[in-house]
């Protein structure tokens, strides 16, 4: 679904990402862990297209999943992406040169459907199905959540050639998602994140994710600032919304606790702008036990 190849990026001329390669397939949840300042948030912003985050090398290719076949009672198997499922992911010790297509054919993903993500504007990436959950959700006085999300959803639907959602249908969808995440519908009518507590802001991110129903969610420390109950609600939300054969998640986190709720298929350690180690869920436990010290060194 997403192929990051030798990605380099700078902020204010300072190199932050120094050659990241990573492949995420449909149905997978990847966790990225790493010490403060290792480039985790930068990676999420670069993928979402934030202005000021300059890509200086490498490529990011997005492969939209194929539509479900016929819709005739397809089980989870039929919903997976075309082509053999992938179990490999690229790590930094096998870098691909930027601009070369070779890496793609290795991964059996080059079927002509790949989209150069870095060439797109943020809203175009969103319309492709990419969602960024913010570490610090922005407060927007004067714009209500409902107004914002309806505008966003309908802009995405227009971009995909779908019909816009009526006000009534949208409100039903919003209420359903707010209820599922324990956010009062009254808060959805208030200005975006204004007067929300830290935990409410994070819940609101998940409500937004539920309403937008993305294909690929990049969640930047969605667990930070949450109490134990809220963490469980958010973790269950991620599983409910995103744990599907045709979706994928890139989960950026510091803590094992969220990974107990949202079991990752792969764990990567980011340090100094590179992925220094990758492994299965057991890697997170090891990190929790031993810290980043040795890896980051």
């Amino acid at each position: 679904m997403l192929k990051i190849d030798n990605l380099h990026a700078s902020v204010d001329g300072k190199p932050i990402l120094k050659g990241i390669s990573l492949a995420i397939n449909a149905g997978e949840i990847h966790a990225i862990m790493g010490p403060n300042g290792s480039g985790k948030s930068t990676l999420s912003y670069v993928l979402a297209g934030r202005p000021g985050y300059e890509v200086t090398g490498g490529s990011v290719t997005f492969f939209p999943p194929l539509p479900l076949a016929g819709g005739a009672g397809g089980g989870p198997e039929t919903a997976s992406e075309a082509g053999p499922p992938l179990t490999q992911f690229q790590v930094n010790d096998a870098p691909h040169r930027s601009g070369q297509a070779g890496g793609l054919t290795d991964l059996k993903l080059a079927s002509g459907r790949g989209i150069d993500l870095l060439a797109l504007e943020p809203h175009e990436r969103a319309a492709l199905g990419i969602f960024l959950g913010f570490q610090y959700p922005v407060e927007i006085p004067g714009v209500s959540n409902v107004q914002f999300l309806r505008t966003a959803l309908n802009a995405q639907r227009r971009a995909r050639g779908e019909d816009e959602l009526s006000a009534g249908d949208f409100l039903r969808l919003a209420r359903q998602q707010a209820d599922a995440l324990g956010l009062d519908m009254e808060m959805m009518k208030r200005a975006v994140n204004v007067g929300f507590s830290g935990g409410e802001k994070k819940r609101n991110e998940m409500v937004q994710m539920g309403i937008i129903d993305p294909t690929l969610a990049i969640l930047d420390e969605t667990d930070s600032g949450l109490d134990i109950d809220a963490l469980r609600v958010v973790g269950e939300g991620i599983n409910r919304i995103m744990r599907k054969p045709d979706k994928a998640v890139l989960l950026i986190t510091h803590y094992q606790r969220l990974l107990d709720l949202v079991r990752p298929d792969f764990v990567h350690v980011l340090a100094g702008g590179r992925i220094v180690r990758s492994g299965g869920p057991e890697l997170a436990l090891e990190l929790e036990r031993e810290g980043y010290g040795e890896l980051a060194a």
Binding site: A126, I140, A191
Partner: protein, 376 residues
């Protein structure tokens, strides 16, 4: 009109005005062509409707009910353009309500100016406890020059909304109001059209415990020059006043607001607030804000604020990362910015109409040539 004596920019209260095009309008002949679709606001209870074309009452297009149309002449010589309007105007609208009277629904005045200079002189007189809501909407391409005298008796209430939605031309608007004890005057302007516009209020709080408000939203692009000017004088105790202005300037446009509060020596317990905020959508645009306080009483609360900024980049990215297009994101945030001024309009239908005007202003921006987008 052979000789037009215009105020000079050297005078402080005219320093940001652009009156340069007025002499040409004074000489030009109007076309008299009235658009088929006039900007009447649909309300639950339809009230009086008055249509003026180039300063002349159009009886066929009007339903004045209780509102009279007659010459209004006894203008004090306070402001040169207002004096000109008083001298040149034929017949203006007169809303006169006796004690406890109320207008039968929203009073709507649509003024079309088709090319030349159109002068109008109006009067609103509400006696004790009377109440009215008035919306003036200005369209067309000429110069409309208005003066309106407002007198509010004790506990009378007036809401006056001025929408300037012209396709060009100039608009100069002067209102002099005196607000009696416990009475309330709320003047809200929304200016999206006109090459140049000046909305001016001179308000005297003449009775104890009165409320007065003058503010609005100025939305300018291209080379438009829009201006809000308020002098608000508290002459009696316990008065409250608000001046919420929101200016939005794009391209090479200029918005200017000059807001004055004067508190006389006996006007104790005055509560006055000025909030002049500007939003630059382009760094080539200009916003001027000048809050002024002149206070001679010692027990008052007077707050003033003036800020000019740009759209919050973080908010723009947040909206866009959810799929909102850059144009829509800009419009959403700008709409929220002017909401402080427009939300004060009590009548729902009028408020909605004003928001629709703001949305229309944004939808026409997509018709602006792409050089505006691509400019450094």
């Amino acid at each position: 009109m052979s000789l037009l004596e215009l105020p000079s920019n050297r005078a402080e209260e005219w320093r940001w005005s652009d009156l340069s095009a007025l002499p040409a309008y004074a000489e030009a002949a109007p076309t008299g062509v009235v658009p088929a679709d006039l900007p009447w606001i649909d309300c639950e209870i339809s009230g009086p409707r008055l249509l003026f074309v180039d300063g002349e009452f159009d009886a066929a297009g009007s339903d004045p009910r209780g509102v009279k149309v007659s010459p209004v002449r006894d203008r004090p010589g306070t402001q040169p353009l207002a004096d000109l309007a008083g001298a040149e105007a034929r017949a203006g609208y007169v809303i006169a309500l006796g004690a406890n009277g109320a207008a039968s629904g929203l009073v709507q005045i649509v003024h079309v100016s088709t090319g030349g200079a159109a002068h109008l002189s109006n009067r609103i007189m509400l006696q004790a406890n009377a109440q009215a809501s008035v919306v003036e909407t200005h369209v067309g391409t000429g110069w409309s020059n208005l003066t309106t005298a407002v007198e509010l008796g004790d506990s009378a209430r007036l809401m006056r909304v001025i929408r300037v939605l012209k396709d060009g031309g100039a608009h100069t608007d002067f209102a002099m109001a005196s607000v009696g004890a416990g009475a309330s005057y709320a003047g809200v302007a929304l200016v999206t059209g006109a090459d140049s516009a000046r909305i001016e209020h001179d308000i005297l709080i003449s009775g104890a415990g009165a409320y007065a408000e003058a503010g609005g939203a100025l939305l300018a692009r291209g080379t438009q020059k829009l201006e809000g000017v308020t002098v608000l004088r508290h002459a009696t105790p316990l008065g409250t006043s608000r001046q919420p202005w929101r200016s939005v300037a794009d391209d090479r446009a200029t918005c200017s607001v000059m807001a004055q509060v004067k508190v006389d020596r006996h006007a104790q317990k005055t509560d006055a607030e000025q909030s002049l905020k500007g939003l630059l959508l382009d760094r080539g645009a200009q916003i001027n804000a000048k809050p002024e306080l002149e206070i001679f009483a010692d027990d008052v609360k007077c707050a003033h604020g003036a800020t000019v900024g740009e759209l919050d980049r973080n908010a723009l990215f947040y909206l866009e990362s959810r799929g909102v297009t850059p144009e829509e994101a800009k419009a959403l945030l700008t709409r929220a910015f002017v909401a402080d001024a427009l939300d004060r309009i009590g009548e729902e239908a009028v408020r909605s109409a004003c928001y629709a005007d703001v949305d229309a202003w944004f939808s026409t921006s997509s018709l602006v040539p792409s050089e505006v987008e691509g400019r450094p």
